[in-house]
């Protein structure tokens, strides 16, 4: 029966795809991209320009509650380690962009914030859930993929960042 076959096919496809969930898994080279900044007057941001630094790449939106919780904490982390070579790149995927810029008015953040309303870069990274972050070492290799943001995650993330910065 038609309905049944479509369901079976979709289930098979879904199960098949489940094996290759991330296009950027730990050990892969982080896919390069260039995006405009969410701040109109700032320069475009290209990931490969940051080679030689430890990069914490995050995907966020104003409608994602855990994302909003994490960003001020990332800002503190950025200030603590930027002199040791940490760069934070938080890609905003709000569509319309104004939703993102409006939220930023009340919560100023000092790191790089590219704007990607069409979702080109999360597609490239095959982001599986919001938020997802990638800790990238100085060679451009993904060292840690972190999905979600829950109580206690900041300690884990910061420990990994410290480890990478020390290894430079």
């Amino acid at each position: 029966m038609k309905i049944k076959n479509t369901t079976l096919m979709t289930l098979t496809l879904a199960l098949g795809l489940a094996g290759s969930v991330y296009a950027a898994e730990e050990g892969d080279i982080a896919p390069d991209f260039t995006l405009p900044s969410i701040h109109a007057e700032a320069a475009d941001i290209t990931l490969s320009d940051l080679r030689g630094k430890v990069v914490y790449l995050d995907f966020w939106a104003s409608w994602c509650a855990p994302c909003l919780k994490s960003l001020p904490l990332y800002n503190d982390m950025y200030h603590r380690y930027k002199d040791q070579g940490l760069e934070v790149v938080a890609v905003n995927v709000d569509n319309p962009i104004e939703d993102g810029t409006e939220w930023l008015i009340d919560t100023p953040l000092d790191f790089l914030i590219p704007a990607d309303p069409d979702g080109v870069v999360p597609e490239l990274y095959e982001v599986f859930g919001m938020p997802t972050s990638y800790l990238i070492d100085t060679d451009g290799t993904v060292k840690l993929v972190h999905m979600g943001f829950r109580d206690g995650d900041m300690e884990v993330i910061e420990a990994e960042v410290q480890e990478l910065l020390a290894a430079q």
């Binding site: 979709t10 879904a14 509650a65 855990p66 919780k69 599986f128 859930g129 979600g148 829950r150 109580d151 206690g152 995650d153």
Partner: protein, 385 residues
């Protein structure tokens, strides 16, 4: 004589499914939220044609609802719910024929009598990668009724989180000990049990549309009659089915969401019903929202419904003149106004409900003279911290 009213059917609603469950999102909340709502609803008085003798005033009810949801550790959320209700007024005691042979209703005694009901429930939810499981236990008590219940539920996401399947279970054990039992020849102490299962499937259709379908089955056994109604005898078990469907769509240009719900119901007392409700959530500038809504409900009569009690039926023949088992239709509608100020949200709601024989979509063989209409006002707030 002292007046009491039937709370047994109201208390039946305190199954785990009736209490608000922790929002089954994808992750535990990161903040705590406290909510409170106060409501008052007052049933319209009966007219002299409907009740030629005695009391005309029906129920006047105040309800206080409290809820606290708080994260616990990395993967869990806890929830506490409390309700406090106080009721005054009178309710149909029996039906008979009036001076011209037409069915009339007789309300129980004088007004000014109050009953209070308190309820407390505690629940927890554990969030995994692709779903969550949770449970709650609760207890409610009033002068003549006591209920204890437990609920368990789980849900799992599939298909890149586009499909969610949920399963819920609840069980309630209730005791009724009618007041003035010996005085009015009522049963002294009875009990009933109720068990429910719900299976639901939710699907994201596109960026602005979601649909959900759910099937529930409930089995009740024990004392199901109304001890405060003079000639009320019902079967001692009841099986119920409900099929609910929901639709949500967001209109980007209008910045508004449409909610449509439809439920089909049937039980083996012979009652079938259709419920259709519609709400429009309209966002306005400065964090205001207005939500007009409308509902249509119609049910068929129970097999043993009668609008004129027969005092001489034998104990093995079922009978009830409870208007809740009659065939009728009801139209209700109202609106809510919501305002958000950062961590505070305030809500004001007004609603009017009217049940009439002529609104019924089913044939009304025996119209009830005790159909109810009421007006409700509610005010509440949420605080996130």
């Amino acid at each position: 004589m002292k007046t009491h009213y039937s709370r047994s059917l109201i208390a039946l609603s305190t199954t785990a499914l009736a209490l608000p469950g922790i929002s089954q999102g994808d992750a535990p909340p990161l903040d705590s939220t406290f909510s409170y709502k106060f409501s008052n609803y007052k049933e319209d008085d009966l007219s002299r044609t409907e009740a030629p003798f005695g009391e005309l005033e029906r129920y006047d009810i105040d309800v206080h609802q409290f809820q606290l949801i708080t994260p616990w550790g990395r993967n869990m959320a806890l929830q506490v719910d409390g309700n406090y209700e106080s009721l005054s007024g009178a309710s149909p005691w029996f039906t008979s024929t009036g001076l011209d042979g037409e069915p009339v209703v007789n309300l129980s005694g004088a007004s000014g009598i109050r009953d209070r009901r308190s309820e407390l429930a505690i629940g927890a939810r554990y969030y995994l990668e692709n779903g969550s499981i949770g449970g709650n236990i609760g207890y409610s008590e009033e002068d003549d009724y006591r209920a204890r219940y437990i609920g368990l539920s789980g849900e799992r996401h599939f298909n890149n989180d586009l499909t969610t399947i949920g399963l819920g279970f609840s069980h309630s054990a209730d005791d009724i000990f009618p007041t003035d039992a010996s005085l009015f020849n009522r049963v002294a102490s009875e009990s009933k049990q109720s068990t429910s299962l719900v299976l639901s499937v939710s699907q994201i259709i596109n960026q602005t549309t979601t649909v959900q379908t759910a099937l529930s089955i409930t089995e009740q056994s024990g004392y199901l009659s109304d001890p405060y109604k003079l000639f009320d005898v019902r079967p001692d078990d009841k099986t119920q089915f409900a099929w609910s469907n929901s639709f949500r769509h967001f209109f980007v240009e209008a910045e508004a969401a449409a909610h449509v719900n439809y439920r089909l119901y049937h039980d083996d007392f012979g009652v079938s019903s259709h419920t259709l409700d519609f709400a429009w959530h309209q966002n306005l500038p400065d964090d205001w929202r207005i939500i007009p809504n409308i509902r249509y409900y119609t049910q068929s009569a129970a097999k043993f419904f009668t609008n004129i009690d027969n005092p001489f039926t034998s104990s093995d023949q079922y009978q009830s003149s409870d208007y809740r088992l009659a065939a009728f239709g009801a139209i209700s509608g109202g609106f809510s106004v919501v305002k958000n100020w950062g961590v505070w949200t305030g809500t004001l709601t007004a609603e009017r409900y009217v049940a009439k024989e002529k609104y019924s979509g089913y044939t009304v063989a025996l119209p009830s003279t005790a159909l109810v209409s009421y007006t409700r006002l509610s005010v509440g707030f949420d605080y996130t911290f």
